[in-house]
Amino acid sequence: MNGPAAVVGVRGLAKHHGQGQSLVRAVDAVDLEVPRGQMLAVMGPSGCGKSTLLHLLGGLERPSGGEVWLGGRRVDTLSERALARLRRRSVGFVFQAFHLVEELSAAENVELPVLLAGGSRREARRRAGRLLERVGLTGRAGHLPSQLSGGQRQRVAVARAMVNDPLIVLADEPTGNLDTAATLEVLRIFEELRTAGQTLVMVTHDERVAATADRLISMRDGMFADDTYLAGSHGRGLGGLIGLDG
């Protein structure tokens, strides 16, 4: 389990809600390994358990059964405090609804994980500046989320997810609230991350977005219905791949 190249791995992972007649198997005994540098897309209809899977991988929810390994360490048995510490350093989250702190500027949002991890203000500022430059938002660092477009907000969220150099980025419908142009902006950043060797697991219901990944898992009723390695996506322009190049 979780060999040297695998960043995250799960075995027999299950998450159940309710009991008896009303038992819901949100995630039903799945096995998975995600090697370092892989961009994995998880697809499926609403309610198939893909977001729950993401939450389980990031330690936001506790599994009902099975094991979760992250960076070679079993994490499903960790305390809440240990899980929080793990998230600080090893996991970056990107959400469909952005979940930025509304009263903080873009830069202050990106600085937050560094400060929570005990980093100095100077260090937080330096890293936030670097990340905002990387996502093309240097000129918007002082803007509040409400002053940014949806795409810009999501880019801030990506910068925030990356600021502590995590082992893995978990993105839950990262383009679900974005228009086509903003979707392209975000996917370009993901592409850059993959090129830089960042491991990324992305939940989406958009086939075009899923097609940009290295690997695609389809989920249905809490189980993996299909696990496909996509070839040739790197050679094409993203816009062409998702039909935006005209």
């Binding site: 929080a84 009263e103 203000r121």
Partner: protein, 595 residues
């Protein structure tokens, strides 16, 4: 009629939906109005008890006292009974000033020499045992209660031993410990109890020990209200005489309650303030829901007037229910509060019209102040905006974000949480300051030096007035603390709920439950620290308005201890709600916020 039914239905639905808030408003108002009504009822209750005792004991309209004794004094005082305005009299009689020891406690006592058969005026009412007989003494009930003496005990008066044959009350003298109305020679008096003996026993007691004796006569006037005129008519008596009217004695009864009125009335103001802050904090926590409800009513055709009536009626109905409850509590507590000695008999009457009106005005003020903001917000918000109302966006404060970045994670979270809702932080600070003011007042009362009621100020008999003041202040302070505890938990919980999204985000970014919990506690403490510090001078200042000029200040260490204890208690109180808030499932919170 239809509109009334609609308002009633909406008010009931509102109360059902916000039960915790409703219960809190009712109880907070009840506490405040009970305290105020008790304070304002003091004089009425005291007067009623005096009147009842006076009626039951044929209390005199005037007691004329001379600091001397002897045939000439007796003749001069007896001549007063010949005045055509006097319809009945008792005496003149000896008043022997001695020391009394019972159960190892010694006190000053004045012994009245009375006949074995009660006279027409000043007939003490025996509440246990029997009236005086040769060789036996009767103790005034308030005095006996303080001594812990009862019928069958033996007491030493002027060194001679007497059995206590009865316990009685009388309206001719003030309540214990002011049984001696004048001192020997007409001089000042010390705290004294009152006892009765037969005339011959009193004479023997005085002569055997050469004890100071004064003389008194009790008079019943044709017009009991004309005591002043009677006194003026007898200015030319051939001796120095002191005229104590029944009005004077009734007024003297209030001496033991001198500090009770400000303690209760000012206490009720502080309690009302805490009631308003607590309910306002709860209402603020539900502002979005309230605004959406108003939007819904507007959407189905309700006008601003109806919405205002519904919201205000809801608060008013609850406040008036609390008012009624408070008045009932005040009625039940009145005898305990208004009669700290056992010197008077009778049931205390209920709060009078003025008291009821004042308490109701207080309840209405609490309701209006609590309802004002949600009502105005609901009225001002456009229908469509109200239907989709979300929490007001906190302001961006770059300086605060920069400054807090220098702090450890819990303080960083706490400071930013405080800054999100500065109004709530100010309310929390004011509530803390109010509580500390009460604690400072209590400590100040405990710091006052006081003379006991025993011989020469000995504390073998405690100072009843001081004890009563401290008991009342303790009760008010406990009520303040109880409301403050509820408020602190409410403030913490509403802060946590208002910031649940941000706290969930912080959790996804790696904040531990402990850091989130500590951050929430820090937010409350950051508001409470200035409140606690400011509460000390405010409490001292408020007390100075009522305290005697020579009142002692409590030691600084006590005040510092009060501030520290308040802050420690605040931190401890926030522990449970913050832990609960920190353990809310992150994924569930974020999903709910996204929906």
């Amino acid at each position: 009629m239809g509109a009334v039914v609609l308002v009633a239905r909406l008010v009931l639905a509102g109360v059902r939906r916000r039960r915790a808030q409703a219960v809190m408003l009712v109880l907070a108002v009840a506490v405040a109005t009970a305290t105020m009504a008790s304070g304002l009822s003091l004089r009425g209750v005291s007067d009623a008890l005096y009147e009842r005792t006076r009626a039951a004991t044929a209390g005199p309209d005037v007691v004329v006292l001379s600091g001397e004794s002897g045939p000439a004094v007796t003749r001069a005082l007896a001549s007063l009974a010949d005045d055509p305005d006097v319809v009945a009299h008792h005496g003149p009689y000896r008043v022997v000033h001695a020391g009394l020891t019972a159960r190892g406690r010694t006190s000053n006592v004045v012994v009245h020499g009375f006949g074995e058969k009660p006279g027409a005026v000043n007939r003490p009412l025996v509440t246990s045992g029997r009236w005086v007989r040769p060789g036996g003494a009767v103790l005034e009930r308030g005095f006996a209660a303080a001594l812990g003496a009862g019928v069958g005990d033996r007491v030493a008066i002027g060194g001679r031993s007497y059995p206590v044959v009865g316990i009685a009350v009388a309206a001719a003298t003030s309540v214990y410990p002011w049984g001696a109305q004048i001192g020997p020679g007409g001089g000042p008096v010390d705290y004294s109890g009152l006892a009765w003996m037969t005339r011959s026993d009193a004479r023997d007691l005085a002569s055997s020990r050469d004890l100071p004796v004064t003389t008194a006569v009790d008079l019943k006037l044709r017009d009991p209200a004309a005591t002043g005129a009677f006194r003026e008519a007898h200015r030319e008596l051939p001796l120095v005489a002191h005229f104590h009217s029944w009005q004077f004695t009734a007024e003297q009864d209030m001496a033991i309650l001198r500090n009770s009125l400000p303690i209760l009335v000012v206490g009720s103001w502080l309690l009302s303030f805490l009631a308003v802050t607590g309910v306002a904090a709860l209402a603020a926590g539900r502002a979005v829901e309230q605004t959406r409800r108003a939007g819904l009513l507007k959407a189905v055709g309700a006008g601003p007037g109806l919405i205002a009536v519904v919201l205000l009626t809801e608060y008013l109905a609850l406040a008036l229910a609390g008012d009624v409850l408070g008045l009932v509590v005040a009625r039940l507590a009145a005898p305990l509060i208004a009669s700290p000695t056992a010197s008077r008999i009778g049931e205390a009457a209920g709060p009078g019209g003025v008291t009821v009106a004042a308490a109701t005005a207080l309840a209405v003020a609490v309701a209006v102040l609590s309802a004002l903001r949600p009502t105005l917000r609901a009225l001002r918000t456009a229908t469509v905006t109200a239907l989709g109302a979300t929490a007001r966006q906190p302001r961006h404060r770059p300086w605060l974000a920069a400054w807090s970045a220098l702090l450890p994670a819990p303080l960083l979270l706490g400071l930013r949480l405080t800054a999100r809702r500065p109004g709530r932080a100010v309310l929390q600070a004011c509530a803390t300051a109010t509580t500390v003011m009460g604690i400072v007042a209590l400590l100040t009362l405990y710091a006052q030096p006081e003379r006991g009621y025993g011989l020469d100020g000995s504390s073998v008999l405690p100072n009843l007035r001081g004890e009563h003041d401290r008991r009342l202040m303790l009760a008010v302070t406990v009520l303040l603390i109880v409301l403050a505890v509820v408020n602190t938990i409410t403030f913490t919980w509403t802060t946590a709920m208002a910031a649940r999204s941000n706290l969930a985000i912080a959790r996804t970014l790696g904040a531990t439950p402990g850091q989130v919990s500590a951050g929430l506690s820090a937010a409350q403490l950051l508001s409470s620290v200035p409140g606690a510090v400011v509460g000390v001078p405010l409490g001292t200042g408020l007390l100075s308005l009522f305290a005697a000029g020579n009142a002692a200040d409590p030691p600084s260490s006590w005040l510092l201890g009060a501030v520290v204890a308040t802050l420690v208690a605040t931190a401890a109180l926030t522990a449970l709600p913050t832990r609960l808030a920190a353990r809310r499932p992150v994924a569930q919170t974020l999903s709910a916020e996204s929906a």
